[in-house]
């Protein structure tokens, strides 16, 4: 006789689903998927203890459980609230939730500099998506926004504290993935800032994963800094045989032509690092920052990009180049080029290899 797995019923936005006991409302909604899933800025399923800070995942509980069907008096953070049998949750069907979420987004954007035209995260930024869905065009905030100087966290990571929303994800990465944490949140309230003690360098092998978990552009890849916009690079899935213990070796390469501009971990539909064989696919700093040649990777194919994302814009949906047929049809005569664009254009110069520069480009790096 097999042991009966007990499941409990929960209704989210009129969709009923059976989930295991102990599941949070957010994870139950993620099992349904689609629009009923509340957005999450601080919760990260692969990081223990994350969540409960940003309040974007607030939902209304219309009935607590079958045993006690009273509604919960206040909106609850779905990432920290477990489901009960017979619970009825309202997310997008509740006006209160939409209104509260709009307010939360306004709070998150209070101190955000909105320097998206400069920020490398633009195009894959969760706060940008959230602001687009829930934000108002203006702000009611009249005071000066808090400002910080940009800081280097080790040789590879750039910290822009002005953009940070204090989700604490990066500190959980440092705590749980790397073996020692040298950075954290200092000060309180409006002065709270992520920093390393006395700018101590983060030299751990897995520190680069902080860039992937950061929902905004506060932590960005210094080797990719200002090289190109995310939506002009072509993401491909690739793997390599990485010797670092704990590194899964499976990554997404962001290419321009054949140049690897950036390496990130593979993301799932929630913007989190994908799991392989039940383990989160963190990648080491060697994979991320030091292997930037296509010859060092085995390319598996194009990364699937949501059709709503700007990253998929203006891209061919295949890796194979279309066959050149002019020569064949013209009995071996090569087509006459009226102009080779590289003879005039200074952009995308074949003699300049931006991926080989491990700092942001300067004026002198472009020869023409």
């Amino acid at each position: 006789m097999s042991e009966e797995i007990k499941t409990i019923k929960v209704t989210i936005d009129n969709i009923t689903i059976d989930v295991a006991p102990g599941t949070t409302i957010l994870n139950a909604a993620r099992q349904i998927g689609g629009d009923v899933t509340p957005p999450a800025m601080c919760y990260y399923s692969k990081l223990e203890g994350s969540g409960g800070k940003c309040r974007t995942c607030l939902v209304e509980v219309a009935a607590g459980s079958t045993a006690d069907p009273r509604p919960m008096p206040k909106l609850v953070a779905s990432c920290r609230t477990g489901v009960m049998d017979g619970m009825i949750v309202k997310n997008i069907t509740s006006e209160k939730v939409t209104d509260a979420r709009n307010g939360v987004v306004e709070f998150l954007l209070l101190n955000h500099p909105l320097d998206c035209p400069i920020c490398d995260q633009a195009g894959e930024c969760h706060l940008q998506d959230l602001g687009y869905d829930h934000g108002k065009e203006g702000t009611r905030y009249q005071f000066a926004r808090r400002t910080f100087k940009k800081e280097d966290l080790g040789p590879y990571i750039q910290l822009h504290m002005t953009r940070c929303i204090l989700c604490y994800r990066c500190t959980y990465v440092a705590d749980q993935i790397t073996n020692k944490r040298v950075h954290g949140v200092l000060d309180r309230g409006d002065h709270a800032a992520i920093s390393t003690y006395i700018s101590k360098a983060i030299d751990n092998d897995f520190s680069g994963n902080m860039i992937d978990v950061c929902p905004v552009g506060a932590l960005t890849d210094k080797t990719f800094r200002f090289k190109n916009r995310v939506w002009f690079t072509k993401p491909v899935d690739a793997h390599r045989d990485c010797q670092t213990p704990g590194c899964c070796g499976k990554a997404t390469l962001w290419l321009r032509g054949d140049e690897v501009f950036r390496v990130t971990a593979r993301k799932d539909e929630w913007g989190e690092v994908q799991s392989f064989d039940g383990k989160p696919g963190w990648i080491c700093n060697t994979c991320r920052f030091e292997t930037k040649k296509t010859s060092e990777w085995t390319i598996e194919g194009l990364t699937t990009i949501s059709r709503h994302s700007v990253i998929g814009a203006n891209k061919y949906k295949t890796l194979e180049m279309p066959k050149e047929t002019v020569k064949e049809v013209m009995n071996g005569v090569e087509p006459r080029l009226l102009m080779d664009i590289h003879s005039i254009s200074g952009v995308n110069d074949p003699s300049v290899h931006l991926s080989e520069i491990d700092r942001p480009a300067k004026k002198d790096d472009f020869k023409k």
């Binding site: 320097d115 998206c116 916009r229 939506w231 002009f232 254009s345 004026k363 472009f366």
Partner: protein, 181 residues
């Protein structure tokens, strides 16, 4: 069958009469129309000597804007390039170095900025997409040329004159529309 429009005309298949076969009345009728145009108002102008005023919404050659201190507004955010339906705009970004603050407004700037005027359709979407007030479609044409390579406009072709070093050319480049806002 029900016709789509009432413009269809039935073609007459009757053999032509003697008068029609002479063709002269028809030619004379046609020439009357031609000569009558001599006495009508000319719709054309003698272009280089005379020039028509542009419409206030005319979309001409792109210009890269500077702020009042002469710093370049463009931060190479790539929104114009992604908005461009003809994929005419390309750019390379670079980081502003200490000491270059008087040249570029933000910490990132376009080290290279090119518009391929052979591709550009002057739709104005780049102007609409720009979050930094950096690109405008001006009131001039793209001049004609014999060579294709002349149509790859780089930054030095596109940038507006410096407002402090060359105020006259700057005002001229601003055009008539600039004063309104």
């Amino acid at each position: 069958m029900q016709p789509l429009t009432n413009k269809a005309k039935q073609v007459s298949r009757k053999p032509m009469t003697f008068a029609e076969r002479l063709y002269l009345p028809a030619i004379f009728k046609g020439m009357m129309i031609t000569f009558s145009h001599i006495f009508k108002k000319k719709p054309t102008i003698n272009y280089p000597e005379k020039q028509r005023p542009f419409s206030p919404v005319f979309r001409g050659l792109q210009i890269l804007n500077r702020d009042e201190e002469g710093r370049e507004n463009c931060t190479a955010c790539g929104l114009c390039a992604v908005a461009c339906p003809a994929e005419a705009i390309t750019m390379e970004a670079a980081e502003r170095q200490p000491g270059e603050e008087h040249l570029y407004k933000e910490e990132k700037y376009a080290a290279k900025y090119e518009i391929n005027m052979l591709r550009c359709i002057f739709c104005g979407l780049c102007e609409e997409a720009c979050p930094k007030d950096a690109i405008y479609l001006s009131e001039t044409f793209t001049p004609a040329d014999y060579q294709r390579k002349q149509f790859i406009y780089a930054k030095n072709d596109l940038l507006i004159p410096h407002p402090k070093e060359n105020p006259e050319a700057y005002q001229k480049a601003l055009g008539n529309r600039a004063t309104k806002n």
